[in-house]
Symmetry: C2
């Protein structure tokens, strides 16, 4: 298919130009003030064309738990998460559809799904998500979330009896490191298909629940299959304490020693890093994925984004899973992930401008997936992953600076059209590849209005957590 988007606004320098943009096959083939019509002609007047953003970290299946978990820190929130996780691959399929739709309608053309695997149905979980992403046509980076240590080992010790709060049974049920790596290898062989916009990533959950052997196995798979690497990193203060206890050094230093950090490595959160850690990320060309909304919702803290930028560390944005956000609106993550840092430095010259935020969300995201040559900017020869925003949307009026309105405002369904790999999959604000009304009905059929959750596991962990964090004892 070919397209000519006529008379669209695009950002150029610090201003805007009105141009025609030509798409042939999967590529942007021309950008000029006026081009010959070709293929389908799209009216770009009063519209803004931007490169698609990357939702660089989420967990699609958490969509089933959004709104459900009360405000809790990560370590207690996780207990609620596990206790209410979906267990049916059909749910995984539906929530991947939902995540793809919300990402597309908020400016994203790619999604990194650090997908939570249903115990005993790991392959089915991955297959269900891949099926959904292929149907929608979004560019997907499926990152099976793996661990080989029991849940209770994710907390530092606290002076309480060892294994306090961790059901002993859990460790015996855990699969071996080798078995976990086998799932990932099988998934790679079955599903990794960049030409079809489905990419697999190696993705240990993080240092808190993974052995060195698991990280090393993932490095091996990454090298063998030329895959990007993903993980959570130092989301909470408790994880910072745990790393010191587990390794005698920072988590970042340890991951560097293992060889996990690389220009193909993206790391979600990165809230509790020292200046030395930040330098390691810069030296290894690793990417930080900033998830501002979940960092606030879980009380994790503010990632030192201005320090990352000053050190030359690449940064992109993620929504994180819907149980800790609880939306999948990428524009919201970009807005809050930009303005949040204005309170961390009085010198406004360091603040992230809306234009810089757009670049981080697009090119920064592409860089973190080792695709900066292919994606992330309006450049002739790059893949046509593009989003056209309707500037006549009431939420973007009166019209002033389009990027300022889009990033600092509160856009309501501003996306008019989306192309992924040259294929138009959103038109007139509607996803054209699947039936969104059917998806809505499927969700509704599986819905139950209920009060916020309170899991028994959380109650068990609470005393240990409060001791670790030096909070007043649990009464």
């Amino acid at each position: 298919m070919s397209y000519l988007i006529q008379k669209a606004l695009i950002p150029v320098g610090q201003g805007y130009d009105t141009v025609d943009v030509q798409i042939i096959g999967d590529r942007i083939t021309a950008i000029a003030p006026q081009l010959e019509p070709i293929g389908t002609v799209i009216d770009g007047q009063n519209k803004l064309l931007l490169p698609g953003f990357i939702n660089a970290h989420t967990h699609s299946s958490e969509m089933w738990q959004r709104g459900l978990i009360p405000p809790l820190p990560l370590e207690l929130w996780l207990a609620e998460l596990y206790d209410s996780a979906p267990l049916d691959p059909e749910q995984i399929y539906l929530s991947a559809l939902g995540t793809a739709v919300e990402t597309l309608l908020s400016g994203g053309t790619s999604v990194v799904d650090h997908i939570v695997l249903i115990p005993g149905k790991e392959a089915d979980t991955i297959a269900a998500a891949v099926r959904a992403y292929r149907e929608v046509g979004i560019r997907a980076f499926v990152a099976p979330l793996i661990q080989d240590e029991p849940f209770g080992s994710g907390l530092p010790s606290s002076g309480l009896p060892a294994n306090g709060g961790t059901p002993d049974a859990e460790s015996t049920a855990l699969p071996s490191t080798a078995a976990v790596l086998d799932w990932v290898q099988d998934a790679i062989e079955q599903f990794h298909n960049p030409a079809a916009q489905i990419n697999l990533l190696v993705a240990p959950t993080g240092i808190q629940l993974c052995s060195d052997a698991l990280f090393e196995g993932c490095i091996g798979l990454s090298e063998r299959y030329d895959l990007c690497r993903h993980a959570h990193l130092l989301e909470t203060k408790a994880q910072q304490l745990l790393a010191q206890e587990k390794y005698g050094c920072s988590a970042v230093a340890h991951l560097q020693q293992l060889g996990y950090l690389d220009s193909r490595t993206s790391l979600a959160h990165c809230v509790w890093l020292s200046d030395a850690d930040i330098q390691i990320l810069a030296d290894t060309h690793s990417t930080v994925v900033h998830n501002p909304l979940s960092n606030l919702r879980l009380g994790s803290g503010i990632a030192p984004l201005l320090k990352y930028r000053a050190a030359g560390v690449n940064v992109s944005f993620g929504c994180d899973g819907s149980a800790s956000n609880d939306g999948q609106d990428l524009l919201e993550a970009i807005k809050i992930g930009s303005i949040l840092h204005n309170i961390t430095d009085f010198d406004y010259r360091q603040w992230i401008s809306p234009r810089t935020a757009v670049e981080m969300a697009a090119l920064g995201g592409a860089t973190g997936l080792n695709l900066a040559e292919q994606l992330g900017s309006l450049t002739i020869g790059k893949k046509a992953d593009l989003v056209l925003y309707d500037l006549t949307n009431l939420s973007l009026l009166p019209g002033t600076d389009p990027i300022g309105l889009l990033i600092l405002g509160h856009p309501v369904q501003p996306v008019d059209s989306v192309w992924v790999n040259g294929r138009q999959i959103v038109s007139g604000g509607e996803v054209t590849t699947i039936s969104v009304p059917q998806l809505r009905q499927a969700f509704l059929d599986r819905s139950q209005w209920q009060a916020a959750a309170h899991s028994p596991t959380r109650a068990v962990l609470e005393a240990q957590y409060r001791s670790i964090m030096a909070l007043q004892p649990h009464l």
Copy 2:
């Protein structure tokens, strides 16, 4: 008119009940599991009914400047604001319509408009906003923003030459304190009409630009006409420095000495208060209006909300003007204004739950306007200011805890119906009292796509500001 809302979910304790809610005239007249149909019957199934929220601080005319001003601290942002302010009362009318529409469609039934007055057209400005609010039918609290000191006096001294950056001409053009108070009194006499849902407030902009005589004059008007009081308070660190320089004590202590603080007084921002200041707010039963998005956008800081709540200070939420947010989505302000504070205290038991946030936004807002007996909860006998949310909206699915989804999610046009004073003014997600398409066209006709602003006044102020804030010199 009468209404029966059938089978709606309402929050009760920590759970939900399904009830019928009867509205007769301007009041909620019955709430019970099943009531006799009366008047217009509304299907409340799969819908959540909540008391209307109060958008407790905004500046409607800033809608003309949204998206326009780059990320800057308040003091420099203000220079941009003044240089690009709308000057035509017809614009004031349109932006008040827009502010009312966005407030209604994000759960608000009342708006406090700290309205920026067009110089020389003060009465026309107020008249235009009042006309808009009456047409829409929202409950409006019009608070004419007044000052009697020149713009340059809003900064503390910095060792630079006195009046550095302030055009001398400005002070001579300023109206006298008496003239300013006369405008306000005229506006009160002409427009204050609670029975028609139009309320006037006295509203000096804040200590940074107002004399003691102006505050005292406002106290007099407040007492004479039984009006609530409003002002900005300690939004920035520069204002905290200024107050010490101007009064030799904190701004809060000074306002208390003047007698401005009262159970009818609501104060926007309150970011830079000491513990002693917080106690004064508690002692005087003053209300804090939290504007989290503008506090981030302008780098002002995080208002110590958990301290306010611990001290028993009433807190409500505001969007603030669209030039510093840049939306008017009250649900966004409530979400960010809740989760932002999770990073200020590791003890999650102090965190603001979604249910508490709803109570702050509704009853907290009503309390700050001295209307807690009339508004802010689903109580028989109170005014019917109600919002019905459609829980089958894709952005709120899959369905879990409705209030969790609404407050922590990213709802996209979730409002089905709104009643103000017993009158339904939103139905099926559409405002029924004005033509929103016409409003959109009027905005579009007055729109111009342009790059972010850069005012000459800002450039003049920048050296002084950087010196005050001990930032590296301006080069």
